[in-house]
Structure formats: structure tokens, C-alpha cells
């Protein structure tokens, strides 16, 4: 298996599936073609009314008779040994039903991240020490204050450099290196020798924290031996198997429901410690238990994009052709192995054509909350280095940054042995984006506005995303009822991206129905078919072809029925919209008039996700363009306009597509300009543990003009709907596009995120 398979497994938390049904060669489904009836339109959410009216029941809304409320006590130190936990005072508080901690072996199963749910040694601030269940959240909070824990504070490390220094305190007994990794192709030395020009630099990115709108948590209820968990999750089946494994239960005993959930960017791909704690407390008390972690705990413990330090060297011939790329990246997993350097070198080795490449990665433990996959893990960080280095290289070559990139477009994935791409998406994104943005004119105009203290700059950056092809396993069932309406049953979560709406559009398109004839049930292991978590930009390319296949299975049966009813041969009947006709066009039948359907009441179609073709690389591409102003006296950056061109195959719903672009750019702006974890030097504690000090971007931080500019093409080699993943590629190029525009404006290159007056102003004063 090539490394990307294991990495996929790593970021998705799932095992590669090698025995999907059938072979793409036997796939007879015709592509939809250019003319579609519903697919491609702008369509509002089919559940929009429920979502905005409060009718939608999110896991944090679930209320059950007898419900208890749980809360977690976190360790206040970045590293401490627990000498004892005394819960007696808490247990005496009226309304407290249970307290569990590491002192309670039955309540403390092994946990997949390493160690147990409650550990005797806490390795990060906020690590769970104990948990209570009480009549209401107020009593639970009071009870936490009465749990007496005696800690022995231990020396800690909170940044990568100190973690790797000689004699550094050890996060784990084996030391502070999680793992190292390397990659090479060609001959780096030779590549460097062939070059006319080289650039190098060290870039750093701050840790970006996961803080989705709905907090992490669940409601757990036992009925006898049957556990039901309502969880805010990206994948109900992933949560089901983790809970079953941790608690030693058969899968059939665990049902996980997550019909609605309020957002996630990777930190809800799997069950959390909270899922186990709630389940254990519910068992203990014989009552349903609700446990949602606080916002502060979210920021402390629910995962982050690891901080990085990246050294990059690019070398090129005078004509701009890359001859060598050298990349060394270091990232911090946090207190447990969590992919601190996961995928960190992929853009360096895979975005541009280059024969000689060497990369090295190092993943480091520090005493801080563990990382978690975060929207385009590794890629967002790496883009900050690679795409700024490309910009620097263009300048040194006296080339236009767009021209330099176009010079180095690969035909296939450079890091996957040049496995051919199904599209020329990278070129298309860059060319179309540059044209629609008015790149050349804007660059020239900005160069003229350099007089006063306010400087104008224009920059761009490109990206790809190595998954986004989707794949098995996935099963979907579509039921067509006698009245001509249809129900879609799939396991996948709609994490706010509009999955339900998009999949309903696929059903409506294929079955010739209107959208309001489709109902969707999803994200419930008790009633829905298997799906992997919604993450890795793979939900559309995994689910949509499977949904279409289930519809095709329905249609197949309907055609059988029609042929019999019309006395025609099976190959004499065809679908025409919501009717079936004989091929000669003389006879037709409405679906609802099929006798067999009226008797049978329902037709059930089963769809299973098939393998992707293995002779191509199915890859989404992106390019972003940015125009901004920098006030060189204050270091303020004002974004004026941005444009994002994406090639992710077919646009199924233009509205949800644009939502992704706007959301992705917004998140990228936060990463670039405002967000970053601050750990206190002398204590190792998190300084910005709230939404005020941890600065997510606001509406006023987004440029007034933000254009979504899809490259319209159908990638029919990718799968039978022609669509690829979008949710991650939209956020990868944002930070370097902004950074390059800042450089264009000021001549000062941002070497670290977040780029703000703190960092920028001293350098502006120094260098200009």
C-alpha cells in the first residue's frame, strides 16, 4: 500500500476497505451529462426551516425523563501526578448521583489514545480527572468544586523546541518524539545543482483550535443492556464501534443517533472520552445522562491543528521549472500521539512537477491538549510555506507568480508515481481564477499605489487535496413508495454542509421526482445503513454515487414492472422523467400507475459504493486570489476582495458549494490573521481559553467582496455523479494567498501565523 492509504486511515480513523463490491469496469451507469434537471441548481436546505426555527433537535437539545447532567473535572496543570481523589464531599451534596475517577477501576476503561479515560498522570491541562452526574448542571458544577484532588505537579514542556532540548521533561517515559518520517524521489543534491535560482525560508504556524458551534458531547441512555447515545458527531458508526470496543459491548447493543449536529471540522470524527463517561455514568445511576463539555474545555481538550515549524527550499531553472524541493516539517501532537506532523509534507511533494524532492517530518509530544484532524490537516500549514516559497521564487526569477505555477503543473500526482489526474484542474483553477479576478490588472494597479503609508497588494496561492475521491464502504437504501415519493436512508451525518439536501437532489434527479417528494433519514446506526464519518472531503464523492446507485436499483425494478405491464420486452422500456415509455414512444406509464407497485407498496433499491478506478488519481484542486491593504504605520491588514476557484468536479448544489467556499475562506482568514493558541510560558496553561481571547474571525474580518468561482466540469472518471470533495480544498490556499498579497504590498514576508500587528509592525518598521 502506498503511504497515502495509511495516512488516510490515520486521519479518518478507519481501516482501508479492500473488498468493495464489483469493479468499476463493470459499471454500466451512464454519466448524467451536461443537462440535469435538479442537480446543479441553487437549492436551499431541505431542513432549513427546522434548523432556523428551532424545530430541529440537536443532541444538545435532547431531553429525556429522569435525565441527569454530568460534568468533567479537568486537571488544572499541564503535567501532574494524581496522588488521590476524595469525592466524599461531592457525594454528600444533595442531587449528586455518582462520581467517577481513576480511583474507580470499573469506571475507567482503556482508551484508544493511550492510557485510560482517567489517568493517574495527567499530561495536559484539562485532562479528565473525575466526572459527576447530578440532577442539574448547577449541582454538577458545585459538586466538581467539592472533589478534592491532590496533585503532584510535574515539570512540563509546552513548545516543540523545549520538548526536543537535552534534558527536557518527558511527556511520556520514552521521550518526546512521537515519530519521524521521510520521503524522497530523484536526487535532491543534483536538483539543487541544476538550479539557477534557490529560495529558502522557515515558516511557523500557530495552533488553531477546534471550537465548533455545538459543543462536544452526548446523551446516553441504557434500556437493559441496550445503550443509546445521541451524539454530536461526524460519524455515528465510528462512534458506535469506539464505544462498543471501549466498553466491551457487541455492536448490536450500541445505537448512536446524530440526526442533526452543530458543526465539526475533524474533532468529531470519533467518539470522545465524554461518550464513555456519559455511558458509564448512565449505567451507574440507571438514569439517562447528558454530558456536553464547556467551551473552555473545548478549547483545552477537544483538539487542534498542531503548531508547526517548516523549513523549505525550492530550486528552479531560469525558465521557472522546479528542479528541487526540500522540506523539513515539525509538528506537535500534544500530550498523546495525534498526528502532529500528519500530511504536513504533502503539498511540498505533490502540488508541483519536480523530479527531485526530499522531505522529513517529526512529530513531537508537548504537555498540551492532543491535536486532532482539522479541516485539511497538514495541508493548511504546508501551504503557508510552499505557496509563499513559490511566491518568493517567482520574484527571484522575475516571473509572474501565476506564470510560475502554470509552468510547473503536473499531469499526474507527483507523490503517487505520477498517477494521472482525471482533470487538468490545477491549471483550470489558476487560469480561470486569474482571469475572473483580473489578476494582471490588479497587480499592476497595486504596484502603482505604493506612495502613502497604506500599501495595496495582490497575491494568490494554489492547492490540491489528496483525498476527496471518496470510496467504499458505504451502503444506501432508497425506497420508492406507491404514491411516487421516495425515502433515502443513509448513515452519513450532515455536519452542516448540506449533505441531506445534496443527496436528496441526487435522488430527485435520478428518479425524475421533485425535491419535496424526497425524505431523508440519516445518521442513526439503529435504522440507517453503514457510512464512514463525514470528513476528509469525501462525503459527496462517497455518498452521492452510492445514492445514485440505489436509485438505479429502484429504476431497474420499475422497468421490470413496466415491461410486464405493457407486454413489452425488458429492453423496450426506458425512463423518461417520471414516466416509463416504450422505446418506440407509443406507450407510456406513470410510475404511480404501475400495478405491481400499487400492490407491493414499495420498491427498495440498494446502493453500495464501488471501488474507484486504480489507474487515475482523483483529486480536487483550488486557487485563491486576494487583494488587500496594509497600513504600514499600524500593521493593520484590510482584506478588500478575494476569489476562490475550485475544481471539484460536478457542482451538485451551487448554494452549498458557495457555502463551503465562503466558510473555508473565512476559516482560512482566521488561521492567517487572528487565531492562535497561547500557552503561558511560566505555567504552561492556556491563556486564551474562551471565544473572546481566542479570536475567531467575525463578519467584519471577511472581505466585502468574496467570490466563489467554480470550474464547471463533470469528472466522469471519478465516479457516476462526477463530483469530488470540496470542503477542505476551499480552505487550503487562503493563508498563503493573503500572505503573498501582504508581501506584494509591503515587501515584508509573513513568516508566522497569526499575521497581526504584533508580528508585522516591528518588521515593517525594520525592513521598510
Amino acid at each position: 500500500m502506498p503511504t497515502e492509504e495509511t495516512e488516510t486511515q490515520n486521519i479518518e480513523g478507519q481501516t482501508p476497505f479492500t473488498q468493495a463490491p464489483d469493479n468499476p469496469a463493470e459499471d454500466k451507469a451512464e454519466p448524467w451529462g451536461e443537462q440535469t434537471r435538479i442537480v446543479g441548481r441553487r437549492h436551499g436546505r431541505i431542513d432549513g426551516f427546522e434548523r432556523v426555527s428551532g424545530g430541529a433537535v440537536y443532541p444538545s437539545d435532547v431531553s429525556l425523563p429522569g435525565l441527569l447532567h454530568a460534568a468533567i473535572l479537568g486537571c488544572p496543570y499541564p503535567h501532574a501526578r494524581i496522588k488521590g481523589v476524595d469525592a466524599s464531599a461531592a457525594l454528600k451534596l444533595p442531587g449528586v448521583h455518582a462520581v467517577i475517577s481513576s480511583a474507580d477501576a470499573d469506571a475507567n476503561p482503556e482508551w484508544h489514545q493511550g492510557g485510560r479515560i482517567f489517568n493517574d498522570t495527567c499530561r495536559y491541562e484539562g485532562e479528565p480527572v473525575a466526572a459527576v452526574a447530578a440532577d442539574n448542571p448547577y449541582i454538577a458544577a458545585d459538586a466538581l468544586k467539592r472533589i478534592l484532588v491532590s496533585y503532584e505537579e510535574l515539570p512540563y514542556v509546552s513548545d516543540m523546541e523545549s520538548a526536543l532540548a537535552d534534558g527536557a521533561p518527558k511527556v511520556h517515559p520514552d521521550g518526546n518524539t512521537v515519530k519521524t518520517d521521510s520521503y524522497s524521489r530523484g536526487d535532491l543534491k543534483q536538483g539543487l545543482e541544476q538550479a539557477a535560482v534557490q529560495v529558502s525560508g522557515q515558516y511557523r504556524t500557530a495552533s488553531e483550535m477546534q471550537t465548533p458551534l455545538e459543543r462536544h458531547g452526548c446523551v446516553a441512555r441504557w434500556e437493559g443492556d441496550q445503550l443509546t447515545v445521541w451524539e454530536s458527531t461526524q460519524g455515528v458508526y465510528a462512534v458506535q464501534s469506539r464505544i462498543a470496543e471501549t466498553l466491551g459491548l457487541p455492536l448490536t447493543r450500541v445505537r448512536v443517533i446524530g440526526h442533526y449536529m452543530g458543526g465539526a471540522f475533524g474533532s468529531k470524527l470519533d467518539a470522545g472520552g465524554y461518550s464513555i463517561i456519559a455511558s458509564v455514568l448512565a449505567k451507574r445511576t440507571g438514569r439517562p445522562v447528558k454530558l456536553f463539555v464547556s467551551r473552555e474545555q473545548t478549547l483545552l481538550t477537544m483538539g487542534n491543528r498542531p503548531p508547526t515549524r517548516m523549513d523549505i527550499r525550492l530550486a528552479a531553472r531560469q525558465d521557472g521549472g522546479l528542479t528541487a524541493i526540500e522540506f523539513t516539517g515539525r509538528g506537535a501532537s500534544g500530550a498523546y500521539s495525534a498526528g502532529g506532523a500528519s500530511l504536513l509534507d504533502w503539498l511540498a511533494k505533490d502540488l508541483y512537477q519536480c523530479d527531485n524532492v526530499a522531505t522529513e517530518l517529526e512529530d513531537v509530544y508537548i504537555n498540551a491538549g492532543p491535536a486532532r484532524p482539522f479541516r485539511a490537516p497538514g495541508y493548511v500549514q504546508c501551504a503557508f510555506a510552499v505557496e509563499q516559497a513559490m511566491d518568493a521564487l517567482a520574484e527571484k526569477l522575475n516571473m509572474d507568480p501565476v506564470a510560475l505555477r502554470l509552468k510547473n503543473i503536473p499531469k499526474g500526482s507527483p507523490a503517487k508515481d505520477n498517477l494521472p489526474y482525471t482533470t487538468d484542474g490545477l491549471r483550470l483553477c489558476i487560469e480561470q481564477g486569474a482571469q475572473h479576478f483580473g489578476w494582471e490588472a490588479a497587480r499592476a494597479e497595486a504596484a502603482k499605489r505604493q506612495d502613502g503609508p497604506i500599501k495595496r497588494g495582490v497575491g494568490m496561492a494554489a492547492a490540491n487535496w489528496f483525498v476527496g475521491d471518496g470510496g467504499p464502504p458505504c451502503t444506501v437504501i432508497v425506497r420508492l413508495y406507491a404514491d411516487g415519493t421516495a425515502n433515502l436512508n443513509m448513515g452519513a451525518s450532515d455536519i452542516g454542509t448540506g449533505t441531506r439536501t445534496v443527496m436528496a437532489m441526487v435522488v430527485a434527479e435520478e428518479l425524475g421526482l421533485e425535491l419535496d417528494a424526497i425524505s431523508v433519514e440519516n445518521a442513526d446506526t439503529g435504522t440507517c445503513q453503514y457510512a464512514t464519518p463525514s470528513g476528509g472531503s469525501k462525503t459527496v464523492p462517497t455518498e452521492a454515487p452510492t445514492v445514485r446507485r440505489a436509485c438505479l436499483a429502484v429504476k431497474d425494478q420499475l422497468l421490470d414492472m413496466a415491461a410486464k405491464q405493457l407486454g413489452a420486452g425488458r429492453d423496450q422500456v426506458v425512463f423518461a422523467g417520471s414516466e416509463i415509455r416504450t422505446a418506440d414512444g407509443f406507450e407510456s406509464l406513470k410510475i404511480r400507475d404501475l400495478d405491481r407497485l400499487s400492490n407491493q407498496k414499495v420498491v427498495v433499491g440498494l446502493g453500495e459504493r464501488r471501488h474507484n478506478p486504480d489507474d487515475v488519481s482523483i483529486t480536487p484542486f483550488a486557487a485563491q486570489f486576494c487583494e488587500l491593504e496594509v497600513n504600514t504605520r499600524t500593521g493593520e491588514v484590510k482584506l478588500l476582495r478575494m476569489l476562490g476557484a475550485n475544481e471539484s468536479g460536478r457542482v451538485i448544489n451551487r448554494l452549498t458549494w458557495d457555502n463551503q467556499l465562503i466558510g473555508g475562506v473565512t476559516m482560512g482568514i482566521g488561521f492567517a490573521l487572528t487565531e492562535g493558541r497561547v500557552l503561558d510560558g511560566p505555567t504552561g496553561k492556556l491563556c486564551n481559553a474562551n471565544w473572546h481571547d481566542y479570536k475567531l474571525p467575525t463578519a467584519l474580518d471577511i472581505p466585502p467582496e468574496l467570490i466563489s468561482d467554480p470550474v464547471m466540469l463533470n469528472d466522469d472518471q471519478a465516479n457516476i455523479v462526477g463530483a469530488k470533495g470540496l470542503g477542505e480544498p476551499v480552505t487550503i490556499p487562503t493563508a498563503p494567498a493573503i500572505a503573498n498579497a501582504i508581501y506584494h504590498a509591503t515587501g515584508v514576508r509573513p513568516m508566522a501565523t497569526p499575521i497581526n500587528p504584533l508580528d508585522l509592525l516591528p518588521r515593517l518598521n525594520q525592513e521598510t
Partner: protein, 326 residues
């Protein structure tokens, strides 16, 4: 989680001050700061006294005999930002109010509450037993002090969070209070307590003393006044640097001026050296540079906030250049 407390809604001001004088009672105006502090356990209380049921009108904005304005302490920040008279005569105040927090918070938060809000220092607000909360040290000294003060810090190194207070200082406003001993007037520039005098108090209000209104002198009306704020994000963020400028201009000449800074010091910071450098001068490039530098002459940055020196210099220079251009 909120602590358990009694909540009372007096209708008479004298009852407010009488009750406030007891124990650790807290005033509740808009609640935007108070409730956050109680939620986060920054301090606790057993009694919260609402200002929301008073018969006397603390919301009013009215003209005074000297041609100035009197602003009720309960006037909402949004109203200060939008009031046509304030915008016209005291633009610095309207601009400062408009730069506060977010629309929701401006609609809910009051003028008096804004002046009496607690500091935003992450050690003070966070899980650290800092000096201001009764602990023994200021964690910022050896810690993460990128947002802390560069002027006026001793023992405690917060910056005062209010945008409105510096505007009031620059406009030479007066604070009218009520207290068990009767009322008094305090110059806006004297309202706040520097840590050198008491690192545990933010204002010089005495126990039981309540701000009733703020008076803007007629003499300061219709001057060239501006407030501008630099922040790390464009809304819902406190000042990295803010400057309230009040110039009495005669053409290009500055007859008189007052300059007050936000984000610089533990109290709204009157930049007196800068005022001296500017008074009587014409707004030339050289005067502007001198003024900006004079404002920062005493700056004593900590390990991570040295950028603020250049930031204030740049901000003041920009504002004075704009004044010269009008």
C-alpha cells in the same frame, strides 16, 4: 455557572446606594460585564442590585446650561454611538462608543458599566490567582504580556479595557455620582485607579458610590475630536491601541489639545508630554513626529509588547496628519 445571589430592583437611588454599601453587593446595569465575571468565577457576590427599575431617569441625554451635554449612566453604548448631537459636537465619543464590542453588546451595555468594567487581562479573567484578584503576583510580568501595558504599570500590568473612557478624558468630561454621603463630581481623568495606588480597584468610586451621569463641557463642543482604535480583529475586540484626540484648531495651529490613549496603560492614559509637544504648534510633519514620540517617551514595554510603541506612534501620527488635512 453563576453563584447563588439575591437580586433586588430598587426604585429609588438612595436605596441603591444604601444596599450597595453592604457586603459585596454588585451593581447590575446592562449586565454584559458583570454576568460574565460571575459566570467565570472572577469574583463572587451575594447580592446583585439592579439599576433597571429606578424612577429617576438615568437613561436621559440632555443639554446643559453651559452648552454641553449630560449623559445618563444608564444610556446604552449604542445610543451614545448613534446620537446625532453627540456625533456632531463630540465625534470622538460617538466614534469610541461605536468601536465597542459588537452590536448586541452595545445595545445591552451602558455608559456607566463601560467605565466600571473589569479588566480583560487573561490572567485576571482566567484560572490564575493574580494580584488583582487577591493573589500575590502579576502573571504577565514573566508571562504572555503581548496585550499588556507599556505605560503606568506597577505591580499589575493590565490595560484599561474601555474605549469610551479615553474619549471622555480627552473631552474633559466630568463624572457625577451619588453615594451614601451625597454626590460629588470627579474629573473623568481621575475616575480610574492606577495600580500604584491600589492594584485591586479599577476606579476611585467609594463603597456605595454610583455613577449617575457624565457631563461633557460646552467648551469642548464642536472641537476637532476623533477616536480611532486598532485591534487584532475588526469587531468584538478590545484595543491593541486606541487614541482619543481633541484639538482646538486655529487653521493649522493647535491652540489647545488633549490626547488620551486606550490599550496603553492600566488607566485611560492622558498623554501629557504629547499634549505639551503639540500645544501652540502648527501641524507640520516635524510637530507630528515629535508629538507621537513624546507620547511614547516614557513607554516601558514588557517582553512581548514592544510593538505597541511603534503602533501608538503610527496611530497618533496618522490621526494628526488627518487633522492637518481637514
Amino acid at each position: 455557572m453563576l453563584p447563588a445571589f439575591a437580586y433586588i430592583r430598587p426604585t429609588r437611588l438612595q436605596d441603591v446606594v444604601a444596599r450597595l454599601n453592604q457586603g459585596d453587593a454588585q451593581l447590575h446595569a446592562g449586565g454584559t460585564d458583570l454576568l460574565g465575571c460571575l459566570h467565570d468565577g472572577v469574583f463572587t457576590t451575594d447580592m446583585v442590585i439592579s439599576l433597571g427599575a429606578l424612577e429617576s431617569d438615568l437613561n436621559a441625554i440632555r443639554q446643559t446650561e453651559d452648552g454641553g451635554l449630560e449623559l445618563g449612566a444608564m444610556a446604552r453604548v449604542a445610543r451614545i454611538a448613534e446620537d446625532a448631537t453627540i456625533r456632531q459636537r463630540y465625534p470622538a465619543l460617538a466614534q469610541a462608543a461605536a468601536s465597542v464590542a459588537s452590536p448586541q453588546l452595545r445595545n445591552q451595555g451602558t455608559l456607566g458599566g463601560n467605565l466600571c468594567q473589569k479588566p480583560r487581562c487573561w490572567y485576571y479573567r482566567g484560572d490564575f490567582a493574580c494580584l488583582r484578584k487577591g493573589g500575590f503576583k502579576c502573571f504577565a510580568v514573566n508571562g504572555e504580556n503581548q496585550y499588556h501595558c507599556i505605560l503606568g504599570g506597577t505591580d499589575c500590568f493590565i490595560v484599561h479595557p474601555s474605549d469610551i473612557a479615553p474619549a471622555l478624558v480627552a473631552l474633559d468630561a466630568e463624572i457625577k455620582t451619588a453615594s451614601p454621603q451625597g454626590g460629588r463630581r470627579i474629573a473623568a481623568s481621575d475616575l480610574h485607579m492606577p495600580p500604584s495606588e491600589d492594584p485591586r480597584r479599577e476606579t476611585r468610586l467609594k463603597d456605595g458610590e454610583v455613577i449617575v451621569s457624565i457631563r461633557l463641557p460646552g467648551a469642548m463642543a464642536n472641537r476637532y475630536s476623533r477616536y480611532r482604535k486598532v485591534r487584532a480583529r475588526q469587531a468584538w475586540d478590545f484595543a491593541l491601541a486606541g487614541c482619543a484626540l481633541n484639538l482646538d484648531l486655529d487653521g493649522d495651529q493647535v491652540r489647545d489639545c488633549r490626547i488620551a490613549l486606550a490599550g496603553a496603560a492600566p488607566v485611560p492614559w492622558r498623554a501629557q508630554a504629547a499634549e505639551q509637544a503639540l500645544k501652540g504648534q502648527t501641524l507640520t510633519a516635524a510637530t507630528i513626529r515629535n508629538t507621537a514620540q513624546a507620547a511614547m517617551a516614557d513607554a516601558d514595554p514588557m517582553s512581548q509588547n514592544g510593538y505597541k510603541v511603534a503602533l501608538f506612534e503610527g496611530l497618533i501620527a496618522e490621526m494628526l496628519e488627518q487633522a492637518a488635512a481637514t
